[in-house]
């Protein structure tokens, strides 16, 4: 009885899989309204071999996104390409099927994230991830050098009032400025900042992953934030061109 039930399950699973593929072929325009005219190819391969369409669709739909995602974190085109390739290969092995595109995308991003973590882990074993050089002066030129209020902000050079920071988040120009500022950070400092602030990884996990001490992590994060804040103040808020 068990065997029959198992066989039945297998059949329905296979059928479900088949139909989900059918659906994606039936409406190729809806599946991707990208400019790449890949319809002929996938329809043809659909006839001969059902599975082949998936990787092609993946590369068209998510290739660029995943590549940019990896490139921002690895800062090396060859490594980013490798990471994307490994991701697709792992996904192919995993062979899941999804109801929605966003579920599929986040599944792929999840795999890529792990690949990038693996890369960080390997890199931190080869050379130290700690960077104590960058911004080591910690804007000492903006603090009072001596006297009663030593190490207080010099009023004219301290943080200025930012006008409508919230509105900036809707501006594409702001995001370009943000990316430019982030690109100016050294590789390891940027990696640490992205892990902590963009990906929201806990401090302890970052330390374990990169094999650095918590103290060094805090120093690196402090300098990254300080440099980014200054960069945004100079290149965005200082210019007072916030579009409303």
């Amino acid at each position: 009885m068990n065997e029959t039930a198992f066989w039945f399950l297998q059949q329905t699973k296979a059928a479900g899989f088949y139909f989900s593929r059918m659906k994606s072929h039936a409406s190729p325009v809806q599946a991707d309204n990208l400019s790449t005219p890949n319809q002929g190819l996938s329809a043809e391969s659909g006839k001969t071999k059902l599975g082949l369409s998936d990787p092609e669709r993946w590369v068209d739909l998510y290739g660029d996104y995943l590549f940019k995602y990896a490139l921002m974190r690895l800062r090396d085109e060859a490594k980013a390409e490798d990471a994307v390739q490994e991701t697709f290969l792992a996904a192919l092995k995993g062979g899941k099927s999804f109801a929605g595109r966003s579920a599929e995308k986040s599944w792929l991003v999840g795999i890529l994230k792990n690949k990038i973590f693996d890369y960080y882990r390997r890199a931190s074993r080869e050379t130290s991830f700690t960077d104590m050089e960058f911004y080591s002066h910690e804007e000492s030129d903006r603090f009072v050098p001596d006297g009663l209020f030593k190490d207080g902000w010099i009023h004219e050079l301290g943080p200025q009032e930012w006008s409508s920071p919230g509105a900036s988040l809707d501006s594409e120009v702001f995001w370009q400025t943000f990316r430019d500022c982030s690109d100016k950070l050294p590789k390891n400092v940027a990696a640490v900042f992205n892990l902590r602030e963009v990906d929201g990884v806990e401090s302890k996990e970052i330390c374990a992953l990169l094999n650095i001490s918590e103290n060094n992590l805090w120093v690196m994060l402090h300098r990254a934030r300080m440099a980014l804040r200054r960069c945004l103040e100079t290149n965005w808020f200082g210019k007072q061109e916030v579009p409303q």
């Binding site: 071999k49 599975g51 082949l52 998936d54 990787p55 092609e56 993946w58 590369v59 290739g63 660029d64 996104y65 590549f67 940019k68 995602y69 921002m72 085109e77 390409e81 994307v84 390739q85 697709f88 290969l89 192919l92 092995k93 910690e138 804007e139 000492s140 603090f143 009663l148 209020f149 030593k150 190490d151 207080g152 902000w153 301290g158 943080p159 200025q160 009032e161 930012w162 920071p165 988040l169 594409e172 995001w175 370009q176 943000f178 990316r179 900042f193 902590r196 602030e197 963009v198 929201g200 401090s203 992590l217 805090w218 994060l221 402090h222 934030r225 300080m226 804040r229 945004l232 103040e233």
Partner: protein, 104 residues
């Protein structure tokens, strides 16, 4: 009036002497996003904020940085930076087709 001014100055100096200086405050403000700070430190930071508008701004701006970083991913798609090159795309497709072929 003069006495009020003198009192204010004394208050500021007192707080200054009993709270972290601004350089230290900027370090602590950053760390407050990465670890739970001791109660006493948080209290002394509060004290400092009473007399220092610059540190208050600094903290608010770090908060903005934190919020912005949280939204970064949503704007990654629109970044004009180059995606996969045509050659890279071909390499990827080829690798995947080989893997797919092996699988079946």
């Amino acid at each position: 009036m003069k006495m009020l001014e003198a009192l204010k100055t004394r208050w500021i100096v007192w707080v200054w002497n009993h709270s972290p200086n601004c350089a230290e405050m900027s370090r602590l403000a950053s760390q407050s996003w990465d670890r739970p700070l001791p109660w006493s430190t948080r209290f002394r930071m509060r004290l400092h904020y009473l007399i220092c508008v610059w540190c208050k701004r600094y903290f608010k701006q770090l908060q903005f940085l934190h919020d912005a970083a949280g939204h970064f991913e949503e704007h990654a798609d629109t970044s004009p930076s180059r995606g996969l090159s045509p050659e890279a795309r071909q390499r990827l497709l080829k690798q995947l087709q080989v893997a797919e072929h092996k699988k079946s």
